[in-house]
Amino acid sequence: MKVLEMKGLTKKFGDFIAVDNVTLTVAEGEIFGFLGPNGAGKSTSIHMISGLLRSTFGQINILGKDIVKHRKFAKMNIGIVPQDLAIYEDLTVYENVKFFAGLYGLRGSRLKEQVAEALEFVGLSDKHNSYPINFSGGMKRRLNIACAIAHRPKLLIMDEPTVGIDPQTRNYILDSIKKLNKMGSTIIYTSHYMEEVEEICTRIAIVDHGKVIVEGTKEQLQAVVTDKKDIWIEVKSNKNIRAQEIEKIKGVESIQIDERVIKIHSDMDINNLNQIIQYFLSNEIEIRSVEEKSSNLENVFLTLTGRNLRD
């Protein structure tokens, strides 16, 4: 069953086209990844699906029903975890979840039961009478999720929920998404971190400048750039490395110099590893390790758009 259908979705802000004729479907049980750099149109699309913004053109269906004609039905079946924390710090944990769940028509024992269930899921049952103002960032993030899932939405939208958080909380959120998915939720996950999308999403759409560049499973997307490879060389210091000289080596397409790792994007068919290593040795750059990687989503994006996801 199609949980979400976008047909020719377009959003204009004056002359600027934020989302340009996007057509996508998300089936029941999927974790659908929206991958793209900042300003690609991910959040605008999400805002239109959740009813925060009106589309300029196009149609959105939730569970087969047009969200304009069946606004209440659509909203009843959507939960959203916004990028920024959206909780009341002067309400207790329990009051926060109860308040938002109550807006979805839950009352009485059913409301209590589902609030308790959501708090249990995010591991905040023992904190239900605490005020989130005293919480760590990670605990606030968990409460943020609980507020979105207590009414048991069919479609859960998570808009860059891992931006600016510590690795532990990030892992917790990713695990939660997998668990929620196993429990039956269909999830739309937006991010500009390709590692996260690669890890959890069953299907991915890469967006840029408001358009869907490519869409499919991780394997389908990687197949787009099977003729490329990445060579990661760990060095003691990047002092004497000149990118222009490495780029002159046959097959090398681009180079990224980090503090200790040099990432070289190269043509798969050209065997240039010896020449690259020779460059490092002749310039007395100490090599710690060399690793050849097959193409990832970062490369897919780079190949299709000519720029990095985090540019």
Binding site: S50, G51, L52, L53, R54, R71, K72, K75, M76, I78, I80, P82, D84, L85, A86, I87, Y88, E89, D90, L91, E95, F99, F100, G102, L103, Y104, G105, R107, C147, A148
Partner: protein, 365 residues
């Protein structure tokens, strides 16, 4: 039901904010006590008046002659001495020359009291005593003779006016500031109301509210009702403290006084939301509200007693509400209260209508 949930949430978040609590409860109570003490002497209405002399002339067949003789004897205990006049015209002249405080003429229709407009205190005292006499006589003889009427003759303008019973009740400083600080605190609630919607945007909860299956109107009304209820609770606490701890006089029409104040809360909330919705940022909204607060407070009887509120001064909500409440407490007069209630409600509805229209046009909250 969603409106109730939002209203309850609004009340909880307001009540748990220490700053709001201080400004809504602590500050007015402190100001009532401080100003009530500092201005204690400014509100004293006791004035020492020396002996007062009154000329009188009685026409034959005056039905209440005997009672008036008794009244004159009693009046001498209050240092008001009556002397029999020889000639009406000569008596009036003596009053005009300040030799006497008044001239009273009695006939079968009632009492004519001539007073010199330059000596208003003495004249008012005598007039008040005559009023009391007339009232008591009317009560005692209502079934036997026609009602007595007291006619006051103003010597200066030479016209006759029928007097009404004059209330000698005046507010003490604590009474006055209990009213004015309460109304000021309510109007300053506007400062909180400007953030009713923008606060949701600041907390990022606006998006959660919009994606929920409720309408913008439900969100808006829930917030308005929540704000009105919690601010009503705050001023009720201030009234209880001032009435039962400071012994302030809130009069015999407390129910109507409270209703007037509720409509003021409604007005303050509506004013806040309209300022919040037409200004582009919270900073601008705060600046606007500061100007409104300063202007309304300066040109009102909040920190001093305004004897005459008329003309452009009546356009100040603090003035129309203060006057309405003081009239209810001290003159048992409902007319200014009715006007204040109508003004508060009409202006509030107008503000809300504009805000709802603006909100409807906007994407998101």
């Amino acid at each position: 039901m969603n409106i109730v949930s939002i209203a309850i949430k609004e009340m909880k978040t307001s009540f748990r904010n220490p700053t709001t609590l201080f400004f809504a409860l602590g500050l007015p109570v402190i100001l009532i006590l401080a100003l009530g003490t500092i201005f204690l002497d400014s509100f004293k209405s006791t004035i020492t008046i020396g002996d007062m002399k009154v000329l009188y002339m009685e026409q034959p067949n005056t039905p209440f002659s005997k009672e008036f003789q008794m009244f004159m004897n009693e009046a001498s205990n209050s240092k008001v001495f009556f002397e029999k006049a020889e000639n009406p015209e000569d008596s009036k002249k003596k009053v005009e020359q300040n030799s006497y405080d008044g001239y009273v003429e009695l006939n079968k229709h009632g009492i004519y009291f001539y007073q010199n407009d330059n000596k208003t205190i003495g004249g008012n005292v005598i007039q008040g005593m005559l009023n009391t006499f007339v009232d008591q006589s009317n009560l005692a003889n209502s079934a036997k003779v026609d009602q007595l009427v007291l006619m006051t003759m103003d010597m200066k303008d030479d016209y006759i006016k029928e007097t009404t019973i004059y209330s000698n009740k005046q507010p003490r400083a604590i009474d006055y500031f209990s009213v004015s600080m309460t109304t000021m605190m309510i109007l300053f609630g506007t400062a909180n109301a400007i953030h009713l919607i923008s606060e949701e945007r600041k907390r990022n909860t606006a998006d959660r509210l919009i994606v929920a299956p409720i309408t913008k109107l439900e969100i808006f009304l829930g917030k308005i009702f929540g704000s009105v209820f919690i601010n009503t609770f705050y001023f009720l606490v201030v009234i209880v403290i001032s009435k039962y701890i400071f012994n302030a006089n809130w009069g015999a029409n407390l129910g109507v006084v409270i209703f007037v104040l509720i409509t003021e809360v409604f007005l303050a909330t509506s004013l806040g939301v309209i300022i919040g919705s037409i200004t582009k940022s919270a900073k601008v909204a705060n600046s606007v509200i500061q100007v409104v607060a300063i202007v309304t407070t300066i040109f009102s009887g909040t920190f001093y007693k305004m004897e005459d509120i008329s003309g452009v001064f009546y356009l100040n909500p603090l003035n129309w509400v203060n006057e309405a409440i003081l009239d209810l407490i001290y003159a048992n007069d409902f007319s200014t209260a009715t006007l204040a209630i109508v003004l508060n409600i009409v202006v509030s509805l107008l503000f809300l209508l504009v805000t709802i229209t603006l909100l409807h046009r906007r994407e998101g909250l």
